[in-house]
């Protein structure tokens, strides 16, 4: 299972961005292709572990699964595959090895709020 090391990368990258922009992260939005080799459930589980003890603790990971899209050279069009076990055009049935989408593993957005600046405690 490599989802934990991937979850840790996600937390690191998100936190780096949060620090740069001086915000606190509530949620990380991720595009996850069905051919990425990463399992969504395992990643969600790992994300919680990866967040613990970091400023992202308690934040959510929102995964958008990206279907496999191929280019069918017969139809000359982009098609969405119904199954990752059958790389053939759903319309004309010809083999479609040309994968356009489905290998994504990228952070697309961060849901944030501005860091609360603690008001300086009035000194006497």
């Amino acid at each position: 299972m490599h989802e934990l090391s991937i979850a840790m990368s996600i937390v690191d990258m998100a936190q780096e961005e949060a620090e740069r922009r001086e915000v606190t992260i509530d949620a990380v939005y991720l595009d996850l292709g069905l051919l990425s080799g990463v399992v969504a459930d395992a990643l969600l589980f790992s994300y919680e572990i990866a967040c613990s003890g970091t400023p992202l603790e308690g934040s959510r990971l929102v995964i958008k699964e990206i279907p496999i899209e191929v280019f069918c050279s017969t139809c000359k069009a982009q098609k969405t595959l119904n199954s990752m076990q059958w790389f053939c055009c759903p319309d004309c049935g010809m083999p479609t090895p040309n994968v356009i989408h489905g290998k994504e593993l990228s952070i697309t957005a961060l849901e944030v709020h501005d860091e609360r600046r603690t008001a300086p405690v009035g000194s006497s």
Partner: protein, 227 residues
């Protein structure tokens, strides 16, 4: 300052770090004229026996070396060293796959320019290695005749990330009633057009075709001739 939640659009490839290292490796291999082949399979598919045979047969005519990833032992490196080729072990501990940085690190002290072929044997795993580019020119996915003809359907992602399929242990085909046509249909279903070789490291069957293919790939890649 407002504490209202808002959405920031970003675009960050999670594996960017690995991809950058892999790209640098690929560029280095290209500049040095080294053809790099990685091997992935489930544990026990016969990667090490196949690689030992490959190294032994290539060694007289080509300058070859291997990196071998393993969770704990150095047994594979010891076996491969019998081929007389330089071999280095990458012990990954609990990590289930190789990453580009491990390859980069393991190459320290080796003069890549002195190599025609570099082989990288990944950790036995048909899932995790698929996400990690190692900078290789060619990725072989191995599966043995004992594993079941439907393996490509169970692990379509690794077949999609590989370039060539190698069917191993053909000497056992009859005993396990291996159905070659069924396996080929399944490979083509998940990776149309995928090239394959059917071999036995034990008897040597099928290896000449595969070695010729490698030689042609090297020639195409670097225009180099055997030393």
């Amino acid at each position: 300052m407002s504490a209202e939640p808002r959405l920031l659009e970003v675009r960050k490839n999670v594996l960017k770090q690995n991809d950058l290292v892999a790209r640098a490796l690929r560029e280095r291999f290209r500049a040095q004229g080294t053809f790099v082949v990685s091997l992935v399979s489930s544990p026990g598919a016969g990667k090490t026996a196949f690689l030992e045979k490959t190294l032994t047969l290539l060694h007289p005519n080509y300058r070859v070396a291997a990196l071998v990833g393993d969770l704990a032992t150095e047994n594979d490196a010891i076996r491969l060293a019998r081929s007389q080729a330089p071999v280095k072990q990458i012990t990954t501990g609990t990590l289930c796959h190789l990453e580009a940085a491990m390859v980069d690190h393991a190459l320290n002290g080796w003069d890549i320019g002195q190599l025609d072929f570099l082989f990288i044997e990944n950790v036995g795993n048909l899932v995790c290695p698929s996400s990690y580019d190692l900078g290789e020119n060619l990725r072989l996915v191995l599966l043995s005749v004992t594993e079941g003809e439907d393996k490509p359907l169970k692990y379509p992602t690794i077949f999609n990330s590989a370039d060539v399929a190698v069917i191993t242990k053909m000497d056992l085909a009859e005993a396990v009633e291996f159905d070659e046509d069924s396996l080929m249909a399944n490979i083509q279903a998940v990776r149309p057009g995928m090239r394959h070789f059917v071999v036995s490291a034990k008897t040597g069957a099928g290896l000449p075709e595969y070695l010729q293919f490698l030689a042609a790939q090297l020639a195409e890649c670097s225009q180099k001739t055997p030393v």
